[in-house]
C-alpha cells in the first residue's frame, strides 16, 4: 500500500542521510523523497512516499522517530491530505502532434515553459497519479525526457505539523 510520510527534522548536515540510511539498512524502499527547509530555518520538512503493509509502516514510523534529529513523523494517510508533485516533460512535438499536445496540456492544467520547432517542454503539477496518467496519454514514443520532484504532501484543513 502506498503511504506518504511527512517528517520534520533538524536542518543539519548529515540528518537527511540518516533517514535515507535507515530505509536502506532495513530494506525499506523510498519511492520518492522531497525535502526543503521550512519557514523555521532550523527545520527541514521531508515528504517520503513509500509502500508496505501496516506493520512495515509502523516500523518505519517508529524507526524514524528513534533518530535523534527527527522531531516529528506523521503518516498523512491517516486523514485527508493534499499531495502535489511537479513534473517537467520534454516532448517530441512536430506536425499535428503540436496542437494535440497543447490541448492535452490544457486538460491537465499544464503550461508550456519552453518551445523549439520540434519540442515542447511542459510543466505539470498534481498528485503523482495524475502526472502518471499524463505520461500514459502522451505515449512513450513522444517522451524525450522527464524530471519529477517527488510528492510533497500536507494535511487538509486545520491539521498542521509543527513543533
Amino acid at each position: 500500500m502506498r503511504r506518504i510520510l511527512s517528517v520534520l527534522i533538524e536542518n543539519k548536515s548529515g540528518a537527511m542521510s540518516r533517514v535515507v540510511g535507515l530505509f536502506s539498512a532495513r530494506d525499506y524502499n523510498i519511492d520518492s523523497l522531497s525535502v526543503a527547509v521550512t519557514e523555521d530555518k532550523t527545520l527541514s520538512r521531508m515528504t517520503i512516499v513509500t509502500h508496505g503493509d501496516e506493520t512495515v509502516i509502523e516500523q518505519i514510523t517508529k524507526q524514524l522517530n528513534k533518530l535523534i534529529e527527527v522531531i516529528k513523523v506523521v503518516d498523512l494517510n491517516e486523514s485527508r491530505f493534499v499531495e502535489r508533485e511537479l513534473m517537467l516533460v520534454k516532448l517530441r512535438a512536430a506536425g499535428k502532434d503540436r496542437d494535440e499536445f497543447l490541448r492535452l496540456a490544457e486538460i491537465y492544467r499544464g503550461r508550456v515553459v519552453d518551445v523549439t520547432d520540434r519540442t515542447y517542454t511542459i510543466e505539470i503539477t498534481g498528485a503523482t497519479d495524475k502526472l502518471d496518467s499524463f505520461l500514459e496519454t502522451v505515449g512513450q514514443a513522444q517522451i524525450l525526457e522527464t524530471v519529477r520532484t517527488g510528492a510533497a504532501g500536507i494535511g487538509r484543513g486545520e491539521r498542521i505539523l509543527k513543533i
Partner: protein
C-alpha cells in the same frame, strides 16, 4: 581562561566523572594524548588493539552501570573500533567513543588516515557527531553522554578533527542536561495501559514473565522480583537477562530460546499470557513468530524503545516506558485491586511446569576422565559461590556458561548477546575487573574466540589485571561444527584447528600463569589454584582440554517452534527424538547461522 580543544575534551570527561578511558593513540589524537599526560585527570588504559579498547569500555559500562569511554585515532583506529561499537549498539550499552579525525581543511580529500567515521558508524550508533567548531566541543560531549545513557542506551561517537583539538576557546562545561528538542525519550508508562496489563495478567491461566537485558540496563531486578513474587507466576529470561532474576530461585525456569531449558521453552510456548519486560522477542528467543503464536496467547510488552514493540510479534498491550517505573506501577495496581492470577489455575500450571522440570534437561554425564565443558562451568560456579563476574566469548562455551553458571545478580554476566562478537571475552574481563576490582572475574572462552583478541594479555600484564581465562578447548570452532554436524551432514568445513599454540607457554610469554588441565579429576583443584593466584595478583590462563564433540542441548533448530527442541541424549525417548542427524531435511532455514 582559554583551553585547547584537547584540554576541553579531557576536562569535559573529568566533569562527567570519568574514571577510565580505554584507548590507543595516533596522529589525529596526539593533542588529546598530550592533554591526558599533562592534566592527568583520569586513568588511561592502553590496549593493544582499538577493538579491545572499545570492548573494555563497554564492559566497564556493563559492570558499573556508568557510561564507558574509549578514545581512538582517525582512519584505521576508527575502523578497528567499529566492531566494538556495533557490539555495544546491539546490546544497548551506554558508551561514548571519541575518534580523532584529520584536520577540517583535509576532510574530504582522501587525506592520510582519513575515513568517513560518521558515515561508517552511522548504522551502528545511537547517534554520532562531527565537531567542526571548537565552541561546540564541550556541549557536544555533554550531549553525547546524555544521549548514551538515557532512553534506550547506546554508543555515541564524537569525531573530532585534529585542528579542533588544537584550536583555543573558553571552557565551561554545561551543568544541566542540554535540552534536545528532537530527543525526548518516554520513561513513564501510560497508566491506562498499565491497568489493562495488570488485569490481563491477572486473568491468565498459564501466565509467564519473560524478561531480557532491559531489566539489567534499567536496574529493575528488584521490581521484577517483587512482581514475580506477588503474582506467583513463573519467569524466564533471555541470554542478556541472566542475573536479572536469581537463577537458583524456584520461580525461575532458566534461560529460554535456542539453547534454553526444556521447561522454559515449553512454558513460553504454552503460556496464555506473556508479560515481556525489556526483551524484544529476538529470533534466538522465539525463532519463528508464526510458530510461537500458534498457541493462542495474549502479549503484554514493556519497553523503553517503542520500535522494539510489535517488531516481531503482534502485541495486545504495548507499554512504552522505563521498565523500572512501569513494573513499580504495575505492582501498585496489583496490590490495590488484588489483581493476581487465580491460585487454582496457577497450581495446575506449576504442576505441568514441575513435570517438565523433572526431566532435568541440563543433566550430563561427568563420569569419564575426558573433561566435559559443562563440568568445568559447574565446578567454577561451586568454588566461586555463584558470585563471580563471568564474561564469555561466542560459541558453545558461551552457551555452557549461560546454562550452567547460576547467576544470582545483575551485571554479573557479560557477553555479546546481540551481535555475537567473538573476541569480546578477554577485553570484557579487563573492563569488568577495573570497574569492580574486588570481584573475581573469569573469562569463559573457546580456543577460537580467545585468539581473536589474545594480544590483550599484554595489556593485562601492564596494568596488573588479575583475571582468569578459562579456555574450553575442544580443538574446534565448536558451535559452527555443531551446526555442520546437524545440518550439513557432518561436513566439517574449516572448523578444525590443527595447529593451536601452546597456551601455557603463550601465557607465560606474556608474564602470566599458564595451566593445562586434561582430566576431570584435576578440574576442581586447578580452579581453586587459579583463584588463589588471582587473589595474589596474577592472571591465570587455563587451557582445559575438553570433549571434542560435546554439543549444546536442548536446541531449537532454525525455523522450529520452541516446543520442537532437539533434546539431550538422556531425554530422547522416541525414534524421532534421537534422530538428531535427520534434522537436515527438516526444513532448515539457512537465513540464520551461528
Amino acid at each position: 581562561m582559554q583551553l585547547s580543544g584537547a584540554q576541553i575534551i579531557v576536562q569535559s570527561l573529568k566533569a562527567e566523572g570519568v574514571e577510565y578511558v580505554f584507548g590507543y593513540p595516533g596522529g589525529a589524537v596526539l593533542e588529546i594524548y598530550d592533554a591526558i599526560y599533562q592534566l592527568n585527570k583520569f586513568k588511561h588504559i592502553l590496549t593493544r588493539h582499538e577493538q579491545a579498547a572499545v570492548h573494555a569500555a563497554d564492559a566497564y559500562a556493563r559492570t558499573s552501570g556508568k557510561v564507558g569511554v574509549a578514545l581512538v585515532t582517525s582512519g584505521p583506529g576508527a575502523t578497528n573500533a567499529v566492531t566494538g561499537i556495533a557490539t555495544a549498539y546491539s546490546d544497548s550499552i551506554p558508551m561514548v567513543v571519541i575518534t580523532g579525525q584529520v584536520g577540517t581543511p583535509s576532510i574530504g580529500t582522501d587525506a592520510f588516515q582519513e575515513v568517513d567515521t560518521v558515515g561508517i558508524t552511522r548504522p551502528c550508533v545511537k547517534h554520532n557527531f562531527l565537531v567542526t567548531d571548537i565552541n561546540e566541543l564541550a556541549p557536544t560531549i555533554k550531549k553525547a553522554f546524555q544521549i548514551a545513557a538515557s532512553g534506550r542506551p547506546g554508543p555515541v561517537v564524537v569525531d573530532v578533527p585534529k585542528d579542533v583539538t588544537q584550536a583555543m576557546a573558553k571552557f565551561s562545561y554545561p551543568q544541566e542536561d542540554i535540552f534536545i528538542r528532537s530527543y525526548q525519550p518516554v520513561v513513564q508508562g501510560h497508566t491506562g495501559q498499565i491497568k489493562k496489563a495488570v488485569q490481563m495478567f491477572a486473568s491468565a491461566k498459564r501466565p509467564i514473565v519473560y524478561f531480557g537485558g532491559g531489566i539489567i540496563l534499567g536496574n529493575a531486578s528488584q521490581e521484577l522480583m517483587d512482581f514475580v513474587r506477588l503474582t506467583g507466576a513463573p519467569c524466564t529470561g533471555t541470554l542478556m537477562g541472566l542475573g536479572g532474576f536469581p537463577s537458583d530461585d524456584r520461580q525461575y525456569l532458566g534461560m529460554l530460546g535456542m539453547h534454553g531449558t526444556y521447561e522454559a521453552n515449553l512454558a513460553m510456548q504454552e503460556a496464555d499470557v506473556v508479560l515481556a519486560v525489556g526483551a524484544r522477542f529476538d529470533d534466538r528467543v522465539v525463532s519463528v513468530p508464526s510458530k510461537f503464536l500458534e498457541k493462542p496467547k495474549k502479549i503484554i510488552h514493556i519497553d523503553v524503545d517503542p520500535s522494539s514493540i510489535a517488531k516481531r510479534v503482534r502485541v495486545d498491550v504495548p507499554i512504552v516506558g522505563d521498565v523500572k517505573n512501569v513494573l513499580a506501577e504495575m505492582i501498585g495496581f496489583c496490590g490495590k485491586q488484588n489483581a493476581v492470577p487465580n491460585r487454582d489455575h496457577l497450581d495446575k500450571w506449576w504442576k505441568t511446569i514441575e513435570n517438565w522440570r523433572s526431566r532435568n534437561c541440563l543433566w550430563f554425564d561427568d563420569s569419564s576422565e575426558t573433561i566435559k565443558p559443562q563440568y568445568v562451568v559447574k565446578k567454577l560456579a561451586e568454588i566461586t559461590n555463584n558470585s563471580a563476574i563471568i564474561t564469555s566469548d561466542v560459541g558453545q562455551h558461551q552457551m555452557f556458561a549461560a546454562q550452567y553458571y547460576p547467576f544470582t545478580r545483575p551485571r554479573q554476566w557479560l557477553n555479546s548477546g546481540g551481535l555475537g562478537t567473538m573476541g569480546v571475552g578477554l577485553p570484557y574481563a579487563m573492563g569488568a575487573k577495573l570497574a569492580a576490582p574486588e570481584q573475581d572475574v573469569f573469562c569463559i572462552t573457546g580456543e577460537g574466540s580467545i585468539q581473536m583478541n589474545i594480544q590483550e594479555l599484554s595489556t593485562c600484564f601492564q596494568y596488573k589485571i588479575p583475571i582468569t581465562v578459562v579456555t574450553l578447548n575442544n580443538g574446534y570452532l565448536g558451535m559452527v561444527r555443531q551446526w555442520q554436524e546437524l545440518y550439513y551432514s557432518n561436513r566439517e568445513s574449516e572448523t578444525y584447528f590443527d595447529s593451536l599454540p601452546d597456551f601455557v607457554k603463550l601465557a607465560e610469554a606474556y608474564g602470566h600463569v599458564g595451566m593445562r588441565i586434561e582430566k576431570t579429576s584435576e578440574v576442581e583443584a586447578a580452579l581453586r589454584a587459579a583463584l588463589q593466584h588471582n587473589r595474589e595478583g596474577r592472571l591465570v590462563f587455563m587451557d582445559f582440554i575438553t570433549d571434542k564433540k560435546q554439543n549444546v542441548f536442548p536446541m531449537v533448530g532454525n525455523g522450529k517452534g520452541l516446543d520442537e527442541m532437539v533434546l539431550p541424549v538422556h531425554m530422547r525417548e522416541t525414534k524421532a527424538d534421537s534422530d538428531v542427524n535427520d534434522v537436515t531435511d527438516r526444513n532448515y532455514d539457512t537465513r540464520s547461522v551461528p
